[in-house]
Symmetry: C2
C-alpha cells in the first residue's frame, strides 16, 4: 500500500524503528533498526546474515513500530505500527547504512566504520496495514 | 529471571514500551503501552479484552522493547528487549493505569478519565531473556 505522507515524514526524520520478526519456533524477535524508504517500500540494511535475516527468509511477516515526538491531547505518546511482508535482497547494505547514518547519527560520519565492509543484505518491506495512535494519513 | 537495576530504572522512568503479541495466525501484533513492575514481573493494564488480551490468552509469548534516552559512544540509540511469558489476570486495570498515568502523563491526572471504568485485565510478564544495545546489567 501507499505510505501516507505523515508516516514518510516520521521515517525520514530518523526515528528509531522497533522491528519484529518471527523465530523458527514462532516466538517474536525484536531489534531497533534504522529504516529508509524506497518508493513505498521500507528498507533496512544488515552487514551480516543475522537472526533477522534468517527469520525473514523463513517467514516474511514483520511489524515495525515508531514513536512520534508528539503527544496527543490526552498526553499519550503517539506512535505508528506498520505491518508488512518482507523479503531479503543480497548486497547494498554498506551504501544504505552510510546514507542512513547521516540521518540517524550525524551528517558527515563514516559508517560502517570498518574498511571494506561486506555487501550484506537489504530487507524490503511492503506495508499491508497501518495502525497506532495518531493521524497517520495524508 | 531477576530484572537488572538498569532496566528497572528505565521502566520506572515512564519509557514507552513496544509490546509484541502473537495473532492467531502467528503474525506479530504491536502496540505501545505503559508498563510497571510487580517484583520481577512486568505488568500492564487493559480496560477491555482487546486484541493483546485475546492473543496472550492463546499464546503467552511476548517481547517488549524500550528506547533508552542515552546513545552509545558510536551515536547509536541504546535499547533493551525483554522476552517473556505473559498471562492475564482479571481486574485491577483502573488502579494500575491510574498509578502509571502519574508516571507516563503527569502527577495528579485522573486516568482513566471515565467514571466507573470496567475492572479490565492486567497482564503479568515473566522475563526469560534480555537483549539489546547497552549495558543492561546490575
Amino acid at each position: 500500500m501507499k505510505i501516507p505522507q505523515s508516516v514518510r515524514a516520521l521515517i525520514e526524520s530518523g526515528t528509531p524503528a522497533h522491528l519484529v520478526t518471527l523465530n523458527r519456533d514462532g516466538s517474536p524477535q525484536m531489534t531497533v533498526v534504522w529504516i529508509g524508504l524506497d518508493g513505498d517500500e521500507i528498507i533496512t540494511g544488515h552487514l551480516m546474515a543475522n537472526q533477522k535475516v534468517k527469520n525473514i527468509r523463513r517467514d516474511g511477516r514483520v511489524a515495525i513500530s515508531m514513536q512520534s515526538p508528539e503527544k496527543n491531547a490526552m498526553g499519550l505518546t503517539q506512535y505508528v505500527v506498520l505491518h508488512g511482508d518482507a523479503h531479503i535482497v543480497e548486497g547494498g547494505a554498506p551504501e544504505l547504512l552510510q546514507k542512513l547514518a547521516w540521518i540517524y547519527i550525524a551528517q558527515g560520519v563514516k559508517f560502517p566504520t570498518m574498511e571494506n565492509p561486506p555487501a550484506g543484505f537489504v530487507t524490503h518491506i511492503q506495508v499491508k496495514r497501518i495502525t497506532g495512535v495518531g493521524s497517520w494519513t495524508d
